[in-house]
Subunit: 175 residues, 6 copies
């Protein structure tokens, strides 16, 4: 069931058909999952989400396919997404996940959810020696590099006046 009609190949728009073709070719299958048939209700949405999924999850990258599925699953479990947990458990099993790794994954997810709440409930401050945040360097406008004279700046910049006064203001309001 779904809140929109699931498309079939025969009644799909040309734009949706092109995506269905790419899915079937990429995955070497004749079957299209519900998610793609539902997204076909708005073909640009189908194209965008499939594009992301293919580039991020399927195309080769630094992380191996199983690790990517485990990360996807960890999020889906935390969000309690029944559809995603089932489909990505199927995908992870194809890539080598067995019951023991499934158990490990779930226990890490449970532990992290517990740890997240403990640090929140106790309102912990990040240890200085572990703080990974780096101070943000100021944005340097791309004027010369872009080879054109900028005629517009952001609103507040104008309000605070000169570069010098803004620097002073930023020092005071920093948090």
């Amino acid at each position: 069931m779904a809140l929109v009609k699931l498309a079939n190949y025969a009644d799909a728009s040309p734009e949706a058909r092109a995506v269905f073709d790419d899915i079937m070719a990429t995955r070497d299958t004749d079957y299209i999952n519900h998610i793609w048939r539902a997204l076909a209700v708005h073909p640009p949405m189908l194209k965008r989400f499939w594009g992301q999924m293919k580039e991020i999850m399927i195309n080769p990258s630094r992380l191996d396919p199983l690790t990517k599925e485990l990360i996807y699953l960890a999020v889906s479990i935390t969000n309690d997404c029944t559809y995603c947990i089932n489909t990505h458990t199927a995908a992870a099993r194809k890539k080598g996940m067995d019951d023991e790794i499934l158990a490990e994954l779930n226990e890490i997810v449970a532990l992290a959810n517990a740890g997240n709440r403990l640090t929140s409930g106790l309102q912990l401050e990040v240890d200085e020696v572990l703080d990974q945040r780096q101070r943000s360097p100021k944005w340097k406008a791309a004027r010369s590099a872009r080879g054109k004279k900028s005629t517009r700046t952001t609103t507040r910049k104008r309000q605070t006046g000169s570069v010098a006064s803004q620097t002073m203001a930023s020092r005071k309001t920093k948090r």
Copy 2:
């Protein structure tokens, strides 16, 4: 601050620069927000996320720009995302949100979060007369349409044997 170094135009890769150029042109500004400078740590990620943001939030569509910002804000408030609440409140104000609409938005978001929990805590079943879910039509493989003979089917189809036995099985396990 951020967990990665925020890029400046001068030190950005050509791929990242192209996105920065598009952002500045699309928004008619010389300023690039932290989010884009951080995503530049991995240019394909910057390109993908900006592409989505532009196509979904900036390009003209059925929903007007203010409504789109209010929806984005409703999610960001529910997820308690400080960065997003600030930047999209700024964007919504530019598009016409005043204090009263901000108040209305917040009250609807609060009410919906309350209502979501009440229906969960009481384990409510959707009223038949309001159930919006439609029965999913079975997927029809695209064989003839694609003009090639498929040689592969999904794993479980093979396991359950003939089409007839699968139909029977599906009738029993339907939920």
Copy 3:
């Protein structure tokens, strides 16, 4: 800091002042927390949220005041709400929470968050013997009781035709 200007008594509207007065009288204090001063940006919102807080959290009820605060805190910790965790920890301490109870609360919250994910990740079905959900009795319209002839029914009722056919349909689509 806040996204709206925090009101002071002197510049508040009469409707907001009436709520401020009720807060100060109910709590026997001259101090008004940020939340109320911010909600005053839209007085009906201030009135509604204070009304709920007073009736649910402050007025005497079956649950004692400390238990109510612990429940409020459990939710706020799960949602990682810094403002709420601080203000309701303060409230709970006034009502008797010490460090040991604070620790117990946090450990239960962490355990529940872990348990919630384990059952989700493993896609557990509720044990029949523990299932607390009761079958919903059909709604009986209030016609005679309200002493008027109804001239309108919901849309789908009309579509499915007679009461008899709807009953049959509901039997089939029940889940």
Copy 4:
């Protein structure tokens, strides 16, 4: 199904009946949704939640009815509330939502959820030029306005002593 017995008009308490009557009159229907019949298990809860829903979602306000439903839906989707997604999709469709707007809504919700995590995962700091938070003005007690001499102040005020020393203290601990 539900964790409490759904009330029918005939067996509802007078207080619950009064709310049922108001719902049927306001919505011009003879049908009462499960949520209201379940909340009738505790009539003050029914009265409060219906009161909120009517004042915030149904009574005319600055935002139009469809926009309000889209905001409510955006939250319900983010929280994965099956009951709310179905009932408010039905409500939004009545107010003009078609499949294309439904698709747009879902894609904005998905994008916002993605964006919320990116800014969190990268630990982004709000851009100074976009920071919408205003410094909170100190609370000014309402003594003269309320026409009585206050005899009680908050605990910490006493500890930090004079107004002058508190101002100094606040400067140091500000974050």
Copy 5:
């Protein structure tokens, strides 16, 4: 249903059986809930989660059994965990929860979820007089107490050099 096979006593490993025995003895029952039978897929996980549940929720402590169940339920409702809501509603009813307390619990949970979002959406800063966070005292290494000469310090300590320079640095970067 579940993503792993639910164990029965006869086919459980000795380590899992020992936990099953402890559950049945502790709860004085012959019935084992789905959660424990599923966790038996990885006995160390079963042992760990049951150990936590027993020590935190079942063993006597400062909070009474009903209050502990209400806190567990408040989290499970906020996370919309169907399995947990059903099983812990059953447990809470055994410990004295009736429909009215169930209603109160749900209304507090709903109110807290609403309040959490209001403070987030308005980006409220904690009132100084309510701020419960205490400044963290610096860690004092346990050298003498542990009776051995430490030969290793954390990385950043080395980078910032002497203790004096670190103290100065921490003063500047404190937030």
Copy 6:
């Protein structure tokens, strides 16, 4: 800062000291993170959470240490836990995560959060061919195996009478 006083070695209880010793020995460091010093407010809580962390995250297992940290981070990002994101980013970097892997992780987490909402907003039903849930086998009481005559069964079993009638009932109410 924190809601409880962070313990130092000198003032910690013997039970807490034993955990501090184990942490320092296991991690080969003299530094104890804020989380452990805060949990020392209730030594059994410190012991339990450290025990879990050590057994699940530090002891060798099927998943390699970096993958475990990435899973922990994916959850912490989804929950927006500042403390956890910083400390586990530090831990993941020590185990080999560089900026590119950090970027990949974040993009998968963002994509999964987006996908989770799309399937929720469209109310998708799991594809039969992908459904990973197995039918739960009935619990078989451990009577003979435990070598004692059970004198107690669960409440509802008694109500539904004989084994045969329960089996029939379960067939009808199964979902």
